[in-house]
Symmetry: C2
Subunit: 200 residues, 2 copies
DNA sequence: GTATTTTTAAAACAGATGTTTAAAATAATC
DNA sequence: GATTATTTTAAACATCTGTTTTAAAAATAC
């Protein structure tokens, strides 16, 4: 067997579901992109929805791994833990170029995949950032008036939005000015500088 | 006439298209939500796509207005002009609760509505922020090493992502901690603080 | 009051949808 | 090598899609 049909289906499904939407992709389209038969979707995954869920789980794989690795580093200073998250965002987007678009689609237009898959992983990330911010404030390193819950969203927003807006950004910026690493590092610097306690 | 069918269709279409997606909403569904006949969609807008475009234009109306008003204030100091954008984001989301979701959907999964409608407005907003940042750097108010193009995306991201992530945020934060104004003001403060030139 | 436009209703249209079926082909096991 | 078990295939399934057509009804304009 060259590469089993199950995997071929999952890998072909990711870009299709990410670039269109769950409803806009047809089973025939999926099968053709995977070089498989139409019936293979139902046979292996019980249907279009089952394939979609399996594909989502596959996309979250590197996140799950990274989170486990990261949890063990809870002894690092808060700012460095936030930096870990920043490089995780950049790194994951490199390994799974469609994940962020898929998650954004689930946030704006939740399907069954939101409850089934997305909801499992997002809170873990949230708690990781929340804890780092909490300790940073307690240690007097970050502004004491910070609303931590909202600040978590701000970090996720300033880092992730770029990857969603990239197609539009490519039309607005000179092509040379678009580097993922450059973006993440400047955005994180702005954020960190923004929450730091001002020197008296 | 109680409220002509054209408007009823547009207003009913916004939440449906925003919460699902263009492909996932059926014409029968649209007509029923508007209390109109199925044929009314084709009669007034030439079809589902025509209704979608008209609804998008309607959603951008307050943005177009605000941008005209704002352009006349180009004499304000850069930081205040950025603040204008921040309050525009909050205000527009209040008047058009579905706009940001619709735009995000068009960014992640562009339909014909992207070229036809969204592409007209986004660059205007981009240029407005870009210009303010440029002047701020030139005036020595913002960090001189700032990549301005990327910094525009950061501002849009830190302000807008919240409104996209709100459904998820509601499950992660104590209900009391979610105020649009509070979020926008803190997020903007973090950003502005983050790009400010450090005192020597 | 007549003429024009808008709205409604029900039906029909061709095409696409996700899923199932039963036979054929391949792989695994003994 | 024969016999299972698994996978693939093409065809058929009922259902839903957006749109159009017919017609009558209602509302508005002149």
């Amino acid at each position: 067997m060259e590469k089993d049909t199950r995997l071929k289906l999952i890998e072909a499904a990711a870009p299709l579901f990410a670039q269109k939407s769950f409803a806009a992709v047809s089973v025939r389209e999926l099968a053709q992109a995977a070089g498989a038969n139409i019936a293979a979707v139902s046979y292996h995954y019980g249907g279009k929805e089952g394939l979609y869920h399996a594909m989502l789980e596959y996309q979250f794989e590197p996140i799950a791994e990274a989170l486990e690795r990261i949890q063990t580093m809870s002894s690092l200073p808060p700012a460095e833990r936030l930096g870990l998250y920043a490089s995780l965002v950049a790194g994951v987007h490199h390994r799974r170029p469609y994940l962020l678009r898929l998650v954004h689609a689930e946030l704006t237009s939740p399907t069954s995949g939101f409850e089934a898959v997305v909801k499992k992983y997002i809170p873990q990330i949230f708690r990781f950032i929340h804890q780092a911010l909490e300790e940073g404030v307690a240690a007097g390193e970050f502004r004491p008036d910070l609303d931590i819950g909202l600040a978590v969203i701000s970090l996720a927003g300033i880092l992730n939005f770029y990857f969603v807006a990239k197609p539009m950004a490519r039309q607005l910026l000179p092509a040379s000015g678009l580097s993922d690493e450059k973006y993440v590092s400047q955005a994180f610097a702005i954020y960190l500088n923004g929450i730091r306690r001002e020197k008296p």
